[in-house]
C-alpha cells in the first residue's frame, strides 16, 4: 500500500461563538468527520490552526488533548456509544472518573435529572430505548461542564419522535443554559433548528448561513482552517 496524501479538509476557516448552535452539513466524503474529529480534539490538523477558547490546540500532545477532551468537549455519537455493561449513571460518571472530579455519583445523578432520566439511572443501556440512550449520552457529555457539545448525527439512529425529543433537549440546553453546540448532520430539518449552518463539500466550506433566530454571540471560540 502506497502512501497517498488525502486532503480531507483544505482552507476551512470559520469561528463559532460561545452559546452558538451550529450545524455542519455536507454529503459523505465532504470532510465532516475530519472536521468533527479536529474540533473534538481527537485529531490534529496537519497544518493550520485550531483555537479553542483562545488556546492553540494543533500543537498539543496526546496527553494534553485527552485533558482538553475531558474538560472542554462533550461528545454525542450517532450510535450512542455507551458502555453496555454499566448502568446509565455509571456511564455518566465515566468522564468524571478521568477528570478526577469529586462527588461523581451525585453529579452524575444531577446530569441525568437534567435530561429527565433520573428514574432510569440504574438501568443498563440495553434496557433503555434509543432516545433514552441518547439522553444518557447527552448527560455524559454534560458531566464535566464542557465548552462545546459535539454531536455527530445525534438523531441518525432514532425514530423521528425520539429525534425530535433529542433536538428539543439540545434547544433547551442551548437556549436556557447557553451551552455551545456543534451538530454534524446531513438532515436539513436538524440544520434548520440551528442558528447557523456551515456547508461542506470536498473539504471546503461552500456555504455559511444564519437562520432568522440569530445567536447570542460573545467572543470567538473555534477556528480551524
Amino acid at each position: 500500500m502506497g502512501q497517498v496524501e488525502v486532503h480531507a479538509l483544505r482552507g476551512v476557516s470559520f469561528q463559532v461563538q460561545r452559546g452558538e448552535m451550529l450545524a455542519i452539513m455536507g454529503p459523505s466524503g465532504s470532510g465532516k468527520s475530519t472536521l468533527m474529529n479536529i474540533i473534538g480534539c481527537l485529531d490534529r490538523p496537519t497544518s493550520g490552526s485550531y483555537r479553542l477558547e483562545g488556546m492553540e490546540i494543533s500543537a498539543l500532545n496526546d496527553n494534553r488533548l485527552a485533558e482538553i477532551r475531558s474538560r472542554k468537549i462533550g461528545f454525542v455519537f450517532q450510535i450512542f456509544n455507551l458502555l453496555s455493561r454499566t448502568s446509565a449513571v455509571a456511564n455518566v460518571e465515566l468522564p468524571l472518573l478521568y477528570s478526577g472530579a469529586p462527588h461523581r455519583r451525585k453529579r452524575a445523578l444531577e446530569m441525568l435529572e437534567r435530561v429527565g432520566l433520573s428514574a432510569r439511572a440504574h438501568h443498563h443501556p440495553s434496557e433503555l430505548s434509543g432516545g433514552e440512550q441518547q439522553r444518557v449520552a447527552i448527560a455524559r457529555a454534560l458531566a464535566n461542564n464542557p465548552s462545546i457539545i459535539l454531536a455527530d448525527e445525534p438523531t441518525g439512529n432514532l425514530d423521528s419522535r425520539a429525534g425530535q425529543e433529542v433536538m428539543a433537549l439540545f434547544d433547551q440546553l442551548n437556549r436556557d443554559e447557553g451551552i455551545t453546540l456543534v451538530i454534524v448532520t446531513h438532515e436539513r430539518d436538524i440544520a434548520r433548528h440551528c442558528q447557523r449552518s456551515v456547508q461542506l463539500r470536498d473539504g471546503r466550506i461552500v456555504g455559511d448561513e444564519s437562520s432568522p433566530q440569530g445567536g447570542t454571540a460573545s467572543g470567538p471560540q473555534g477556528m480551524p482552517e
Partner: protein, 417 residues
C-alpha cells in the same frame, strides 16, 4: 483516574467473564500450587533430617552395603548384588575397633501389624538392645529387647507409642500378642513418645530382635545364603576419633569381604553430615526437576494471560475508544489493562497458594502415616514470594497487550465494529 477505580473496573471485567478468567488462571494455579508444595515439603524434609541428626549426635557413623545412593533408597528384597553386611561383620567391628563404644545393626521391613480387628502399617526394625541408647529412647511400659531375646530368636516386639495407641485402645499392650503376617509376636514393651524428630520416627515403628526379623520377616540373603543387615550404626567414643574409627572399620570389612588391593569397597561408611549431604543432593535434584515443571507451568500460564488479554483488548476496542473520547489518557488505558492482567494472575496465584498449601498438608499427613514424619512448613515468606511472583507474571505478560490497548488511535477505536 484513581487506582481504586481502575481496580474496580478491572475486577468487573474479570467477573463478567468468569469462566474465561478461571481457565486463564489455571496455568498459574497449577504452577504456584506446585511451587508451594515443593518448597514447603522440602523444608519439612530438611527439618526432619535436622531432627534425625540431633537425635543421633554428630559422632555416629552408619555403615551400609553397596553404593551410597542405593543404600539411601534401600535395596529391594531380593539378593543384593553390590555387597552386603552380616551380623558377623557387625560382631567383628564391635570386637576390634576400640574407638567405637556402641554397635547396633538394623534390618528394616515394612509390615502390617494386627491386633484383633485393628491394624497398622509400619516399619518393623530388627535390632539389638543397643538401639535404645543409640537413639536415646525411653520406655513407657514394659522392657526392651534383651540379649536373651536376641540369642533365642524370640518372637517379641516393642511398639512405638503411636502404634500402641492405634492398636490398643484401652487395653495394656504389654503381654498381648500382635500378628505380623502369620507370626505372633508378644508385646514386651512400649516406647515413650519421642515427638517430631527425624524422618523415621520411632513413635510409628516397632522394634524386634534382629535375629527374629531376619528369620521371620526379611527374606533378603547374600549370594552365599547369609542373612543380611541393612545398616550398622556405630557410636564413636569421641568426635576426634572419627577418622581412626573409619580406617579401622574399612580395614576389617575389606579383609572380611576379601576385597583385593585397588578394588573399590563394597560398603560405605557415612557420617551424619554425609547422610545430610546425600539427602540434600537428592532433594536438590527433585526440587530442580519439579521446580522446572512449575516454572514451565507458570510460563504457560503467563502466556495464557497474555493471549486472553490480547483478545480482551480487541473485543473492547470500542470501549477503549469511548474512554479515550471522554478524556482517558493513554496511561489510564494502559493501567486499566495492566491491572486486569495483574489481578487475573494474582487471583490465580492466591488460589494456587491455597491449593499448594492444602496439597502439602495432605502429603505430609500421608507421609506421616507411612511412618515418615515430614511436616510441611508454609511460611509467610513463601506466601509473600508466591503472591509477588504471580503479580510479576501478570505485569510481565500484561504489559504488551496493555501497551497495544493504549496505543490505539481513539478515532479508529470508536469506528471499530
Amino acid at each position: 483516574m484513581r487506582y481504586v477505580e481502575i481496580f474496580r473496573v478491572a475486577l468487573r471485567a474479570l467477573i463478567t467473564h468468569r469462566l474465561r478468567s478461571a481457565l486463564t488462571m489455571l496455568g498459574i494455579i497449577i504452577g504456584l500450587a506446585a511451587v508451594i508444595c515443593l518448597v514447603s515439603l522440602g523444608r519439612g524434609v530438611q527439618a526432619s533430617i535436622q531432627g534425625e541428626i540431633e537425635s543421633m549426635g554428630a559422632n555416629v557413623l552408619a555403615v551400609q552395603p553397596g553404593d551410597p545412593m542405593m543404600a539411601f533408597f534401600g535395596p529391594s528384597d531380593t539378593t543384593i548384588s553390590t555387597g552386603f553386611l552380616t551380623l558377623e561383620d557387625t560382631q567383628a567391628i564391635a570386637d576390634k575397633v576400640s574407638a567405637v563404644d556402641l554397635v547396633c545393626p538394623a534390618v528394616t521391613t515394612f509390615n502390617r501389624i494386627n491386633f484383633g480387628s485393628e491394624s497398622s502399617a509400619s516399619f518393623v526394625v530388627g535390632t539389638t538392645p543397643e538401639y535404645v541408647e543409640l537413639r536415646n529412647l525411653s520406655l513407657a511400659d514394659g522392657v526392651f529387647i534383651t540379649r536373651q531375646d536376641l540369642d533365642g530368636r524370640r518372637d517379641v516386639i516393642v511398639l512405638g507409642s503411636r502404634i500402641a495407641e492405634s492398636l490398643f485402645d484401652e487395653t495394656d499392650p504389654v503381654g498381648e500378642f500382635v500378628k505380623i503376617g502369620r507370626y505372633k509376636f508378644k508385646v514386651v514393651g512400649v516406647l515413650g513418645s519421642v515427638g517430631a524428630r527425624g524422618m523415621l520416627n520411632e513413635d510409628d515403628m516397632a522394634l524386634a530382635p534382629i535375629t527374629t526379623v531376619q528369620s521371620r520377616l526379611s527374606m533378603r540373603r547374600t549370594t552365599g545364603g547369609e542373612r543380611v543387615v541393612d545398616e550398622v550404626w556405630l557410636r564413636v567414643v569421641d568426635e576426634s576419633r572419627m577418622d581412626e574409627a573409619r580406617e579401622e572399620i574399612t580395614d576389617i570389612l575389606r579383609q572380611r569381604h576379601r576385597i583385593a588391593d585397588g578394588e573399590d569397597n563394597d560398603f560405605v561408611i557415612m557420617s551424619m553430615e554425609q547422610i545430610t549431604e546425600t539427602v540434600a543432593q537428592v532433594t536438590g535434584m527433585l526440587t530442580l526437576f519439579l521446580g522446572s515443571i512449575a516454572a514451565i507451568s507458570l510460563l504457560v500460564g503467563g502466556i495464557g494471560i497474555m493471549n486472553i488479554m490480547l483478545v480482551s483488548v480487541r473485543e473492547r476496542t470500542r470501549e477503549i475508544g469511548i474512554r479515550r473520547a471522554v478524556g482517558a489518557k493513554r496511561r489510564d488505558i494502559l493501567m486499566q489493562f495492566l491491572t486486569e492482567a495483574a489481578l487475573l494472575s494474582l487471583s490465580g496465584g492466591a488460589i494456587g497458594l491455597l491449593a499448594g498449601w492444602g496439597l502439602s498438608m495432605g502429603l505430609s499427613r500421608v507421609l506421616s502415616s507411612q511412618a515418615m514424619l515430614v511436616q510441611a512448613v508454609v511460611g509467610l515468606d513463601i506466601v509473600l514470594l508466591a503472591l509477588s511472583v504471580s503479580i510479576g507474571i501478570g505485569l510481565f505478560f500484561g504489559i504488551y497487550p496493555a501497551a497495544r490497548a493504549a496505543r490505539l488511535d481513539p478515532i479508529e477505536a470508536l469506528r471499530y465494529e
